[in-house]
Structure formats: C-alpha cells, structure tokens
Symmetry: C2
Subunit: 345 residues, 2 copies
C-alpha cells in the first residue's frame, strides 16, 4: 500500500473504536468528515518524508512491507499533527479558506437544524485530531522498543510549534509599527512554528525506526534541518507575493494581513528612509491600491534579486554543512534539499 | 513537600526550559501567568486523589518521600489537564468568569499596547497547558517501567474528554426543544466529559505507581469510578440550582443557559404535560422571571426530593458494588465516595 492508500485504513481504525465508546452515528460521521477534510488533501511532503528518509537511512537494504507500512503510518501522524494545528490556526488567524474550501470552523455544523457554523466547536475538533495521533501510534507501535521515543518526539514537537505560535500571535504589532519586523524575530518564529514539525520531525521519526539512538545523530539532523526549514518558510513568503496563484493554489495575502514576512524584513533592511516611510504607510492594508504600492517598492528595492541571492547562498551553506556529515548518510538531507530548491509550489 | 507546595516547583521546571528554547522574557512571563492563573486555585480534589489513593493501595506501608512527591506530580498533571480543558471550554461556552475572575480568554493581552484581550490566543495557550503535562511526566517518570502506561492513560483520558465535549457541544438543542434532554443522553455526556478524567484518571495513575498491571483491576476501578463520576456531576447540577452561592463560589446559570442538566431531565420525566409545557416556554431564557417560573415548577415536582432519593440510592448501589471488590483495597473507593457523599460544595 502506498502512502495515499494508507489514509483510509487509518481513518477506519479511528472510526471503528467509536461505536465501542458508545458514540452515536451522527458523531461518528462528524469525526469522519473532520478527518477527511482536514488531514487529507494537502501536499503530503512532510508525511512522505518519513519513508523516503528511512529508505536512505538503511542504505540499500530493501525495506519489508511492514517497515514501509509503519513508516507511512508515522508519516500520516505528521499530517494529522499539521491538521490539528491548521484547524486551530485558521480560527486564531480568522482565515477564510484553506485548500480551496471554507476553513473547518466556517463550514456548516452538521448537527444544527438552522445552518449555523461549526464555529468554536472546531477548537475541540482540533484536540480530537491531535488525539488521533496517539491512538494510531499506540495501535501500531505499542510493542516497539522505540515507542516512548516516538511519543516523546511528538510531544516535544507539538510544544515547540505551540511556542512558535505564541511568538507569532504576539508579534503582530499595530499596523505601521515596524519595530518587530527584524530578521532575528522572524527567524525565531519560523524555527519554532514551522521548521521543527515540518523538517526535523519526519526525519527524526525515520531515524527512530532505523534504530538510531545516538544523541549526536539527532543533533546533527537538527543542525541541518532547522535551517532547511527556515529556507523553506522564506520560499513560502516569497511565493506568497511572487508565486503563480494557479500553481500555488491560493492568492497571497501576507501584505494585506500585516504579516512579519521575510520580504518586509528585507525591505526594511535594504530600503531608503523614504521607501521605508512609504511602506509604513501602505503595508498591512486590505486594499489593492496599497498592495500595489508595497509591491512597487519591493520592485524598486529589487527584493526578487535579494531573494535569489539568499536562495543560492542558503543552498550553498546547506550543502557545505551536509558534506561534513559522517554520522549518517548525507543523502537523507541532500534529497530533501533537492526537493525544495528553487521550488515554485 | 505537600501538594500545594509542589506547584511552584513544577511551574519553575516548565519555565526554566524556556530561555534555553530562546524564548524572550515577556513570553516567559506570559506562560508563567497562564499557568499560575489556570492551573492553581481550584479545589484540587482530583490532584490530591492520586496520593490519597496510592497511600491506601500500598496498605499500611509508609510511602517514601520520593513516592509521595511523584504521586503529587501526577496529581498536578491531572490539574494541568483540567486547566487545558477549562481554558478551551470557557471559549466554547462563551463563559464570563471562572473562579471569581474573568476567564483567561477575557483577560487583558499582556503583549498588547491597546488593552485588547487575549481572545483566541487562549486556544494556543490551552495547547501549551496540555504540553506541560508531557514535559513534567518526562522529567520525573522517563525511567520508570510504567512511563509508557502513564502516557497512554493521559492520551486516552484526553480523547474521552474530547468526545464528551463533542457530545455536549452538539447536544445543545434550540431553546424549547426538549427532545435531547433524556437521561440516556445525559449519562453518556457526563461519563465522557467528566467521569473519566475526574475519577478514573487519578485512581488509575495511583494504580500504575503501585505497580498494578492486571487489566481486571483497571476494569474494576472503571466499573466503580465512572458511576461515581456520574453521581458527582448530578450533585454539581443540583448545587447549581440549590447550592449556596457563597459556599459553591459562583451563581448557577444552568437554567439560563439551556443546559442539559440532570434537573431538567428529571422534571421532564416526572412533570405533568402542563408543567412540561410551561418549562418549554421558560427554560433557557436569561431572565429572572423565567428562571423563577422554572424553579417554581421544579418545586412543584419536588425535584429536591427526587434528588435526595437518587442520592441515597446511588450511594447504596456504589457501596454494594465496592463491597464486592476483592482484587484491590475497597478503601480506595470508599474514601473517595465518603468525600463526595452529601457534599455541599
Ligand atoms: Mg494562519
Ligand atoms: Mg497563524
Ligand atoms: Mg505563507
Ligand atoms: Mg463550560
Ligand atoms: Mg462546556
Ligand atoms: Mg455545573
């Protein structure tokens, strides 16, 4: 069974416990829909990484069917973790759409007779998505020697992501105040809210499955994967402004939403006082005219060139770092890097 | 160190990691306040139960200082779990106050310059409270043979409570619709949203510490503690209407808020068609006059007598059940029951 084929199996495992827990039929359908809409349908890069990485870690040995299945279960648990965070993040950010449909909290409450929305019940739904992770890990890994390590790393990663969210949510200054838009602040937010769960977690899980127990190996992985995650988020910010909407699947809104994006941090670092004054006036407003002015100043500063330079430099530094790795196969990192370098989606 | 004295030690353990994770000072203060306000200051019955129960389980042997400390750590983790749920529950229920002060989501955002409220950032804060549980358990129990069992039971209990919340949140019918106010529905909600975490969890944790591994012991505990939790919640509903506000520390609002309370379920079972018609007209309205009418009908039906009869019957049944227990000391259950029987707070 390949990665996508495993999803319905895992969802069925979750759902089959519910009648034993006395849940009425309509609640089971609720949870079915919750999982279907929020866990499936992403790009699945994070989830796929667990198996890809395990395959490279065992260096040529063919994985058993059971190993492949289990790596993909852990991959789906990473996707479930992301779903937990995205459902809540959309409420906190008051987002409207996600993956081309209304955010979960803005969908119609299936239990209501008067077409009301799910609304804040989505908070509890996000908790349920998180709980599914531990239900699945228990079902498939309870007897593995690394069971507690898998639990520890999910707990730690969740905590890191939550700290990143706290930083993010409390670093949205009043519009026109650029004092918090520094690269230091930016990098700290991104490391915690994105890099740990998106890059370190999937590889660390594959390392546990491969039987790696040495702390230096995990330190090495972290030392490479966190900067890689930062690079990935900077690309995300770049594509929000310069990506092709039909390719990236959404219309960027970072400028409108006054986001602490890498682009605005760079504009502040590289712009003239006059340009920065104009940015302060027009950044963070939900109007086409203001967005156009911000983009015009970005072009004057030639942010695209600054990004291309950053991208090449960042890629070069990552490759240098990876070339020094002796404790585990460099391929694990090189493959991951090659999949994101100069990505357009 | 007694139970209350351990709280600042545990909070300090959480906070001391944060500078190592690169968190700025004001975020550390945020988390300090989050923990202080939401975890401390409850009645602590659930937390105290772990040590009380362990003491009875070891039947006379004096517990070591380390055992006492660890039982209390797990007790505080139960309090932390409750804090996680209450912070989110207050948002979902749109509650105003908790323990005599504004609910966390209604307190002032310490990071904002313009006195705005914490608001939905409290969602992420509830996640952080949950993560603290696993940080603490890892710090104090990582090398215990029952480490994974402790994690499993916290995961399972969280999931059960979330399913209870889902039932609760989707069983609030339109005002005047009594079709869902049945005892069956009531009992299912209460078992999942209250009984597992309030009664089964603290005792099960003490059993793990006592080295109990037999599944029948845990089944026995569940078989007694879930009905005890139901009885506790029925008392809670009774006190909401008939308790002394100065004693219970709040003014009950179940009638105003159209809650699926045990009292309304009983009134529907025992009232005449005319009384039920009047209840439909006046239940769930936030007005003194309507509440007075509901309470008058409760008195006509003599709900207080029905409750006293239920209380004696329920107590009797629990004692009967406990008397049949051979697999572990009956005292564990009798003591817990004696602490809640005929409680007024
Ligand atoms: Mg968002
Ligand atoms: Mg966000
Ligand atoms: Mg983005
Ligand atoms: Mg509530
Ligand atoms: Mg509630
Ligand atoms: Mg109550």
């Amino acid at each position: 069974a390949n990665f996508v084929e495993i999803f319905p199996i895992l969802k069925a495992e979750i759902l089959k416990d519910l009648p034993l827990m006395d849940m009425p039929k309509d609640k089971i359908e609720w949870i079915d829909k919750l999982i279907e809409i929020n866990v499936a349908g992403g790009k699945m890069n994070r989830g796929l990484t667990v198996l890809h990485s395990l395959q490279l870690l065992v260096e040529g040995r063919t994985l058993t069917r059971s190993e492949i299945f289990k790596a993909n279960v852990l991959g789906w648990c990473v996707e479930w973790l992301q779903a937990f965070f995205l459902v809540a993040d959309d409420i906190m950010d008051q987002s409207i759409t996600r993956r081309g449909q209304p955010c979960w909290y803005r969908q119609t409450n299936p239990s209501s007779s008067n077409n009301s929305l799910i609304g804040n019940i989505a908070i509890n739904d996000s908790f349920i998505l998180e709980s599914c992770i531990y239900t699945l890990i228990k079902k498939y890994f309870r007897n593995e020697p690394y069971y507690a390590d898998v639990l520890d790393i999910f707990h730690e990663t969740a905590y890191q992501t939550e700290l990143g969210q706290l930083l993010d949510l409390t670093t949205q200054p009043n519009r026109g105040d650029f004092s918090m838009f520094t690269l230091d602040t930016y990098r700290r937010i991104v490391k915690y809210k994105t890099a740990y769960y998106s890059f370190y977690l999937p590889v660390a899980l594959s390392m546990l499955m491969a039987g790696i127990v040495s702390k230096p190996s995990f330190d090495t992985a972290r030392d490479i994967l966190l900067p890689m995650g930062e690079y990935f988020q900077i690309q995300d910010d770049f594509l929000d402004c310069y990506g092709e909407p039909s390719v990236i699947g959404k219309i960027g809104r970072d400028i409108e939403e006054n986001k602490c994006s890498w682009l605005i941090c760079q504009a502040i670092l590289n712009g003239t006082p006059a340009q920065i004054a104009l940015l302060k006036k027009h950044y963070g407003l939900d109007s086409k005219v203001d967005v156009e002015i911000v983009k015009r100043i970005y072009n004057e500063i030639d942010i695209q060139k600054i990004f291309r330079q950053y991208e090449d430099q960042s890629y070069g530094q990552l490759v240098e770092k990876i070339k020094l790795v002796k404790i585990m196969p460099q391929e694990v990192f090189l493959k991951l890097l090659s999949r994101i370098y100069k990505r357009e989606v």
